[in-house]
Amino acid sequence: MNKEEGAMVTDEKLPISIINNKAFIFDLNVIKKLRFLGIGGVLSGTLPTAPQQNVFLGLPLQLMIEEVVWLVENEYAYLVPERDFLNDLIQGLNNDDVLQIQNEKQKLMDLEQNEKLIQLNDKLDKLGKNNTSDETKLKNINQSLSIKIFDNSNNLKNSEFLKKTILQNKLIQKNLLNSLNYNNLNYKIFNHLKLKNYFLAPGLRFGGKFIGYPGDPLRYHAHLIINTINWNQDIGLMNIVNGGRLATGVKKVWLIGSERDDDEDEQEDEQDEQEEKDEKVRCFSVEWAGFG
């Protein structure tokens, strides 16, 4: 899925809930949209109808931290903090903020009142009994206005306000992103491969950081087992043997990626520097030869 199509799918930013420094999606529609962006995640919730197994899992969907960072940096999604964070936020509200929230609520209240009034007037007009003043009617309406409690946070009256606050406050988003404690190198490699249209998933079961699919995992087998390594770190012959065997044994290619050090750029000749200016990430693939 290329970027343009993805953008079409998500005209609105998608919410990612951050709970205990892990990222979750609770809304099926959001998951669908993410899939078009090439973000798969891992389903991690027990199915209510089959709670004694863990082969098939359901909502919520857990995202890799690199996926979250990618979504936020590319402005496809925003982060929703957990309760503690909200509590802190409430502690930090000043009078103006409270007034603003009250106004917001009052507006919603007024809107509903007016709606009810119009409905009532219509009804009474039909019956031809519209002779009491608006004030008494409003009193009656206020008595009957119910407070609804929804089981979905999207329907809460202050949801829009919260969303606006969280979404527009760059500092909150930045802090939330930093709270994930992500490894910059891992993200760079993730981003690099994502730009090359690879679909990435967690690679632990194959002994790597990521595994890379050439497209949606439902259509393709993985082609890559990806590990990241610091530019000056000793890879170790043993690890190369191991990685090569590991990947070739499951018909994949072992890939190591790293980001070039800034200091070393200066030593390169100019032509090389030109080529490498935008792309500092370098990847190498290792295949184990000699298997029959």
């Binding site: 194959f206 002994g207 790597g208 690890n239 191991n242 990685g243 065997r245 590991l246 029959g292």
Partner: protein, 353 residues
């Protein structure tokens, strides 16, 4: 495979040190007692001494007899042109049509086995395609006979009667001196092997720049004076398993330090693969060298894939002061302790039997 001498006979000893052989004692036969005592008295422990050259950090054995001795007595070293046993001479002779026809070398057996495997895979693919087609038509698995045939093909003994095909290239002329093939292959020992033969068994003479070199000199050349030197750790573990009777060979092909064979490569596959990690007294130091889980899981996948057990050996590292205060090598090595941990990849669904 029919060999002139049985494998068990050829590889009777697991080290190039042969113990005294004594006859059985029959308790009610006093003559057997006398025989026993004479044999015990007269017998000597035989140490088969070999010679290796220490050049550019490599230990090379070039004498043909020494190569055979080291291979037969504990499977030491690796032929530089071969997979493990130095078989280049035999293989080349066969290829050039010289000398008598000999048994197959391991490299040739592997080639044949892979060929058979390819054939089997082809047949299997054919059958699977057929099955898939019939499945579409609604018939389920009518191929019991074919399956059986396929199974036979897989399980059948590999036919080792291979015809001798001679492949003589122009360049091969250079290999011959007076119509005889020169053996160009040497045996390479890795550092721990060579040091074990020298230090523990005193069964090898090591020459450096054509001068014999002593054990202590060799040790100083192979290791730094640091207490957590890689060579020391590797050697301690090597010595540990060799003294417990395991045949220890390099595990580089599986990305581990060592492989442990019960008797040796021709008898069984290796059972265990060994990786070595230091265990410092200082926890902070341990944290610095700690590996992540991805590393462990990738090694265990590879080892699990070849049906071996992974042994993580933690070597307790003494302090530098303790190490420096010891004078002899024996005392130094005694400071190290070994802890073993068997690690297996276990999947509930797949490990029910």
């Amino acid at each position: 495979m029919s060999k002139r001498a049985s494998l068990g006979q050829v590889h009777k000893y697991s080290l190039p040190v042969h113990p005294i052989e004594v006859p059985n004692i029959v308790p009610h036969n006093p003559i057997s007692w006398v025989q026993f005592l004479i044999a015990y008295w007269k017998g000597v422990t035989v140490v088969q001494t070999t010679t290796a050259d220490f050049v550019n950090g490599q230990f090379l054995v070039s004498n043909d007899e020494d190569i055979k001795t080291l291979w037969k007595n504990g499977f030491f070293g690796k032929g530089i042109f071969s997979r493990s046993e130095a078989t280049w001479y035999d293989r080349t002779q066969k290829r050039l049509g010289l000398g008598e026809f000999k048994n197959l070398t391991i490299e040739e057996i592997t080639a044949i086995r892979r060929d058979e495997r390819k054939k089997f895979k082809k047949e299997r693919a054919k059958l699977e395609a057929k099955q898939a087609e019939l499945k579409k038509a609604g018939i389920v698995d009518p191929f019991i006979e074919e399956r059986l045939e396929l199974k036979n093909l897989r399980d059948k003994d590999i036919d080792v009667k291979v015809e001798r095909t001679i492949d003589f290239r122009d360049d091969d002329q250079q290999l011959l001196v007076d119509g005889k093939l020169q053996n160009l292959e040497t045996l390479e020992l890795f550092a721990a092997e060579a040091f074990f033969l020298k230090f523990a068994l005193n069964a090898i003479n090591i020459r450096h720049n054509d001068q014999p070199i002593s054990t202590v000199e060799l040790f100083n050349k192979l290791s730094s004076s640091k207490v957590d030197d890689l060579f020391i750790m590797n050697y301690v573990v090597y010595h540990h398993y060799r003294s417990l009777g395991w045949c220890v060979r390099s595990g580089i092909k599986f990305g581990t330090e060592y492989l442990l064979y019960k008797r040796g490569p021709p008898f069984h596959h290796a059972e265990h693969a060994v990786i070595i990690l230091p265990n410092y007294k200082d926890e902070q130091q341990n944290e610095q060298v700690a590996k992540d889980f991805v590393w462990l899981s990738s090694i265990s996948r590879v080892i699990g894939g070849v049906r071996k057990n992974l042994i993580i050996v933690f070597v307790d590292i003494p302090t530098q002061e303790e190490f420096d205060s010891c004078e002899t090598l024996e005392e130094k090595f005694k400071l190290y302790k070994i802890n073993e941990l068997l690690y297996r990849r276990w999947v509930a669904n797949k490990n029910r039997d």
